[in-house]
C-alpha cells in the first residue's frame, strides 16, 4: 500500500537485530562505519564481508531485498570502479589498450572501494533502516542526544516534529490522492503539455494541500494543548528505553571486530587499499 511509504524500508521481523535497543543500533552503525573505514588490507575486508553476510543472515531479511537496495547506487559503484581501474598506476602492468594502462593495483583498489561502498550500505540498512522503525529511531536519537538539552539544543522539539511528520505523511499522501482525483474529475491534466504547463497544473493540487496541512496543524496544536502538552519539560515516557545484555554484547562484538581489522591491517597487509 502506498501509505506505507512513511515507514520507509522497515522490514517487519523479530530477529536479534530487530530487538536491539535503537540507541545501541545507532551506536553500532557509527562504530561499524568507523571500522569499515579503518580496513585497509584485503584480509580485513574479507573479515568485514563475512561479518556483514552474517548480519544479513541473522536479520532474516531476504537477500534479494538487500541487493535491490543497492540498485540506486549502481552508477556510483561502476563509476568508482572505472576510475580506479583505468587511472590508477602501480608496479604490475597487466595489459595496455592504446594509451590506457591497466595495473593489478588498480583492479584491487577498485574491488576494495566497491566493497567498501557495499559494506557501508549493508551496515546502515542492517542496523538502522531495515530493522528499526523510523519512530524508534527518532526515540533513540532523542535519548542519545538528551545530554545536549543542557546546552539548550531543542532535542525534544526536533524529535516531536519528526514524530508528527511521520504520523501525518500517510494522511497527507491519502489527501493528495483525493485532491488529485477531485481535480481530475474537473478535467485536470497532469501529464500533457510543456513543463511550465505541467507545473501550472499542479497549483490546483498544491494550494488545497497546503490549506489542509495548515488546518490540520492548527487543529493538532489545539488538541495537543488540550492534552496538556507544554513541551519537553517535566515530560515522562511510557516506553523508556533500557539497555539489555544483548546490546552490550553487540557493541562489544563490533569493538572486537575493529581490533581484528587493525591487526589484519598490520600483520596481513597484502593487497591493501592505497588511498
Amino acid at each position: 500500500m502506498k501509505t506505507d511509504i512513511a515507514f520507509g524500508q522497515y522490514c517487519e521481523g523479530d530477529s536479534i537485530l530487530h530487538r536491539l535497543d535503537p540507541r545501541a543500533k545507532i551506536l553500532l552503525a557509527v562504530l561499524y562505519i568507523v571500522v569499515i573505514f579503518m580496513a585497509k588490507s584485503a584480509t580485513a575486508f574479507g573479515l568485514l564481508l563475512l561479518f556483514s553476510i552474517g548480519l544479513v543472515l541473522v536479520s532474516g531479511i531476504p537477500v534479494r531485498i538487500v541487493l535491490n537496495s543497492m540498485k540506486p547506487l549502481t552508477f556510483i559503484i561502476v563509476f568508482t570502479a572505472i576510475i580506479n581501474i583505468f587511472w590508477m598506476t602501480g608496479d604490475t602492468l597487466l595489459f595496455q589498450l592504446g594509451f590506457v594502462k591497466v595495473y593489478l593495483e588498480g583492479i584491487i583498489n577498485a574491488l576494495l572501494l566497491v566493497l567498501r561502498i557495499m559494506l557501508l550500505l549493508i551496515c546502515t540498512s542492517m542496523f538502522l533502516t531495515y530493522t528499526t522503525t523510523p519512530i524508534s529511531l527518532t526515540d533513540g536519537l532523542e535519548q542519545l542526544l538528551s545530554p545536549l538539552k543542557k546546552l539548550h539544543v531543542p532535542v525534544h522539539e526536533f524529535s516531536m516534529m519528526m514524530t508528527i511528520a511521520l504520523r501525518f505523511i500517510p494522511t497527507l499522501i491519502e489527501e493528495t490522492e483525493k485532491i488529485m482525483n477531485a481535480q481530475k474529475a474537473r478535467g485536470a491534466d497532469f501529464s500533457q503539455g510543456s513543463i511550465v504547463r505541467r507545473a501550472k497544473a499542479l497549483i490546483p493540487i498544491l494550494v488545497p494541500l497546503f490549506v489542509s496541512a495548515f488546518r490540520r496543524a492548527d487543529e493538532l496544536a489545539t488538541a495537543m494543548e488540550c492534552r496538556c502538552y507544554t513541551g519537553g519539560e517535566g515530560r515522562t515516557r511510557m516506553n523508556v528505553l533500557k539497555y539489555k545484555g544483548s546490546d552490550l554484547l553487540a557493541i562489544g562484538a563490533v569493538v572486537l571486530l575493529g581490533a581484528a581489522v587493525v591487526l589484519l591491517n598490520l600483520y596481513l597487509p597484502g593487497y591493501s587499499l592505497t588511498l
Binding site: 519512530i135 514524530t163 504520523r167 500517510p170 487543529e219 493538532l220 515522562t236
Partner: protein
C-alpha cells in the same frame, strides 16, 4: 451532586477581520453542569456551540462573563497559566476530525501522550493506558498504526487518551460528524457507557437529533443564545420552535406531531419506534380524543 462547570453571562465575539465586522458568537450564555450528567448541546452551524466548547476548555477567553470549573473561577484576573494547566487536567476534549488529534504513530503511544505530558511515572502510564484501551474496547489495536484504523476507532483512541488522564469531564465537539453510521454507533455506545458505568460527565455537541435524544438534558443554541434547556422530552416536545431554529426533531416526534394535528391526543416525547407505533396504534384504533 456537585456542579463541575458553571458559566455565567458568557459573551464572545470573533474579532473583526479585513472588513468583515466582529461576529458575536455567544450572547449572555449561562448554565451549569452537574457531575455525572450527560448533556447534549444542539444547534445549527454557526449557532455558537463550538465557540462554547472552546471557551469551556479554555482555548478561547470570553469577552465577558464567568467560567467556573469545580467552583474555581477560571476567568478571574489572577488566574495564571499554571492554574489553567491544572484545570485542563480535569476536562478532556474530543474533536470533530479524528485524524487531527492523534499525535503518535502507534495507538498505545498516542493514548499515553497526555499522561506523559503530566509527568506520570512510566509503569503507572502503562497500567492506565492498558485500562483505558480496555474501556474503549481497543486493546486488540494497541500496537497498530492509527492511520489504518476507521474513523470510529480513531475517535475511541482519542477517548482512551482522555480517560487515561483520569479526566472526569469529557466534551465531545461534533465528534461523530465525520463518521459513518457504524462509527457513530461505536462512539455513541462508548459515550453512554462512560457516562453510565464510569460516572464520567459528558457534554456532547452534535447536530444529530437521534444522538441528542439519548442525553439526560439538551441545551439548544441559536444565534449565540440558549434557546431551550431541558430534558429531551421538553425540548423535542415543541417541534415548531426547533424547526424555526433550523433544527429537526426525531421522525417519531414528527409523526406524533402530525397525529396531534389530526386530533389524536398523543404525547410527542417518544423516540423508540416500537413505543411510538404502540401509542399511535392505540390512538388510531380507539379514535382517542376525537369526536
Amino acid at each position: 451532586m456537585s456542579e463541575v462547570i458553571r458559566v455565567e453571562n458568557l459573551c464572545y465575539s470573533y474579532p473583526e477581520d479585513e472588513g468583515t465586522p466582529a461576529v458575536p458568537a455567544l450572547k449572555d450564555v449561562s448554565f451549569s453542569i452537574e457531575e455525572g450528567s450527560f448533556t447534549a448541546i444542539l444547534g445549527h452551524n454557526g449557532s455558537g456551540k463550538s465557540t462554547l466548547a472552546k471557551v469551556l476548555c479554555m482555548i478561547c477567553q470570553p469577552d465577558s462573563g464567568k467560567l467556573f470549573l469545580h467552583g474555581k473561577e477560571m476567568t478571574a484576573e489572577d488566574i495564571t497559566d499554571a492554574d489553567i494547566m491544572k484545570a485542563r487536567r480535569e476536562i478532556g476534549m474530543v474533536f470533530q476530525n479524528p485524524d487531527n488529534q492523534i499525535v503518535a504513530t502507534v495507538v498505545e503511544e498516542d493514548v499515553a501522550f497526555g499522561c506523559e505530558n503530566l509527568g506520570i511515572p512510566s509503569d503507572e502510564i502503562r497500567r492506565r493506558v492498558d485500562e483505558a484501551l480496555e474501556i474503549v474496547g481497543m486493546t486488540r489495536y494497541a500496537r497498530h498504526q492509527p492511520h489504518k484504523l476507521s474513523g470510529g476507532q480513531k475517535q475511541r483512541i482519542a477517548v482512551a487518551g482522555t480517560i487515561a488522564m483520569k479526566r472526569k469531564v469529557i466534551i465531545f465537539d461534533e465528534s461523530t460528524a465525520m463518521l459513518d453510521p457504524l462509527g457513530r454507533k461505536e462512539v455513541m455506545d462508548t459515550i453512554i457507557r462512560l457516562n453510565r458505568e464510569d460516572g464520567i460527565t459528558v457534554l456532547m455537541i452534535t447536530h444529530y437529533m437521534n444522538e441528542a435524544a439519548l442525553a439526560d438534558r439538551i441545551i439548544v443554541m441559536n444565534r449565540g443564545e440558549i434557546l431551550k434547556d431541558g430534558s429531551p422530552n421538553q425540548v423535542f416536545g415543541e417541534p415548531e420552535s426547533m424547526w424555526e431554529a433550523g433544527l429537526d426533531v426525531p421522525q417519531t416526534t414528527e409523526l406524533l406531531y402530525r397525529c396531534r394535528q389530526m386530533g389524536y391526543n398523543v404525547p410527542l416525547d417518544v423516540f423508540d419506534t416500537d413505543e411510538c407505533a404502540r401509542i399511535i396504534a392505540q390512538a388510531v384504533l380507539n379514535q382517542e380524543g376525537r369526536d
